[in-house]
């Protein structure tokens, strides 16, 4: 999808993802409570909050990894809007490897460490029926190039890669089927600063070129400032504030957001 398509989408009033009253409890404790928002095509939404604020629980519920107790997660599928919470598991899993992508904080959770880089990238293609080795390999090489991994590393296993390369490989593996929505859990966590910058640049380029929508969970305010169009601040499982990213960061309204913003070390 080109950026022009993306802009045309941006003018539609049909959200790509509509979340309504999403609630998840762990026994008596709240994971996340009554979360509602719309995500439009081409938008990047950041979710910030301290550890235990419920942002990872929310992401898991959105991505179908955890069943929520209440609420709806309506995705605009090719066949129209569908509630992914109540759809059949087979359909949800099929969507998870075609229309959706999930980038884990730890590449080990998102990669098959015993499988070569090419096999990792090719898996989603094979999962949706690709049966031509040469084509699969050509696409894998193309995608390794797009995430700046040299083609001659295609048969190396991820173990032989640096942390930043592993994370880029995970991104290639996820984006090869051209998803429309990407969930990212601390995608730059655990990487050193220069590698983070490279990854951020890469993600921004891919989001723009592919017209991706993304939901990024992070505790790094610098990351969301550079990547996210919109920001949601969570505390104790509740969304305490949401809005335009730079507005929330520069003119925070809620006490907790003000504390969060003022706690960041200035470089």
């Amino acid at each position: 999808m080109t950026a022009i398509d993306r802009n045309m989408h941006a003018e539609t009033d049909q959200p790509l993802l509509a979340v309504q009253g999403l609630t998840k409890r762990y026994g008596g404790r709240i994971g996340c409570a009554d979360v509602s928002f719309d995500l439009f095509p081409g938008e990047v939404l950041g979710i910030v909050g301290e550890s235990g604020s419920g942002k990872s629980t929310l992401l898991s519920c959105l991505a179908g990894h955890l069943p929520p107790d209440q609420g709806r997660v309506i995705f605009d599928t090719a066949a129209g809007p569908r509630d992914t919470v109540t759809m059949a598991e087979a359909e949800r899993r099929r969507m998870a490897r075609t229309d959706w992508a999930f980038v884990h904080q730890n590449p080990r959770d998102g990669l098959r460490m015993g499988v070569s880089a090419g096999g990792n990238v090719g898996e989603r293609l094979m999962a949706i029926g690709a049966r031509h080795y040469g084509d699969i390999r050509a696409q894998a090489i193309d995608w390794l190039g797009r995430v700046e991994i040299a083609a001659d590393r295609i048969d190396d296993r991820p173990r032989a890669f640096s942390g930043g390369m592993q994370q880029r490989l995970q991104i290639a593996r996820n984006l090869v089927t051209g998803p429309r929505l990407v969930f990212m859990d601390e995608p730059t966590g655990g990487l050193d600063v220069s590698v983070q910058a490279r990854l951020l640049d890469l993600l921004r380029g891919l989001v723009r070129e592919m017209g991706l929508s993304a939901i990024i969970v992070t505790h790094d305010l610098a990351v969301v400032r550079l990547l996210a169009d919109r920001l949601m601040v969570m505390k104790g499982g509740h969304v305490v504030e949401q809005g335009l990213t730079d507005q929330v960061l520069d003119d925070p309204q809620h006490a907790y957001t003000q504390l969060l913003v003022s706690s960041v070390l200035q470089v």
Binding site: A3, D229, D251
Partner: protein
């Protein structure tokens, strides 16, 4: 093009005893297409605050900020994102970019976001960088390592890459030498000539006198402190 009426703003500092600091009340202002309006007033009088509210960066407490038909004070985030992409440009005093992205791509990005092809966007970016006397050997480097003046010029090039119908300029000529200052002023004149509505802050009085059609003193919008 830009129309502000009865605008007010206060900051509530929740972590400092919930102190409420009113910073603006009953602001009224308009900028017509092809017009450049300068904001004046002492430091802390609220010039930057007003600019940031028009940009959607600060929330308004009450009032209307109409830019190209959209009320920024009430708009949804995605409406503001679209406004910033298509209609409203902003040259701030600070350059905020992803590290390691080449300067030419930083300048071309607003056009790329509008769907302009890479070659065309880069050509426009190269044109502006050359005009603003950024040496070509720096174009492929990230501007994060540039001097203050160079960063300022990159920021200006970025702000003028797309012919926005409305522009916000925050000290566009600060820290520039005479040659580059005149280039920037020419860019502003050109923008006015094509019908852009410009709202700016100029501490450089000569520059202000040269490009501004009117000035508005923001001290008129300073809230009366309740004694």
């Amino acid at each position: 093009m830009i129309e502000i009426s009865n605008l007010s703003k206060a900051f509530t500092l929740h972590n400092q005893g919930a102190a409420v600091i009113p910073v603006m009340a009953n602001a009224n202002l308009h900028v017509r297409p092809g017009e450049c309006v300068g904001l004046i007033g002492a430091s802390g009088a609220g010039k930057s605050t007003l600019m940031r509210m028009v940009w959607g960066n600060y929330l308004a407490a009450s009032g209307v900020i109409r830019v190209g038909g959209l009320d920024v004070a009430q708009a949804q985030p995605r409406q503001i994102i679209r406004l910033r992409r298509e209609t409203l440009g902003y040259v701030s005093q600070f350059l905020r970019v992803v590290p390691r992205v080449p300067t030419i791509d930083v300048v071309a990005e607003p056009l790329r976001n509008l769907g302009v092809g890479e070659d065309q966007a880069q050509a426009r970016a190269a044109d502006l960088l050359a005009r603003l006397n950024i040496p070509q050997r720096l174009w492929s480097l990230s501007p994060t390592t540039f001097s203050g003046g160079e960063q300022q010029r990159v920021n200006i090039a970025r702000g003028f890459a797309h012919p926005y119908p409305a522009l916000l300029l925050d000290e566009p000529t600060a820290s520039l030498d005479a040659v580059n200052r005149s280039v920037v002023l020419a860019l502003i004149e050109e923008a006015k000539a094509r019908g852009a509505a410009i709202l700016g802050i100029f501490h450089d009085e000569a520059a202000r006198d040269q490009v501004c059609d009117r000035v508005v003193d923001v001290r008129a919008f300073t809230p009366k402190v309740a004694a």
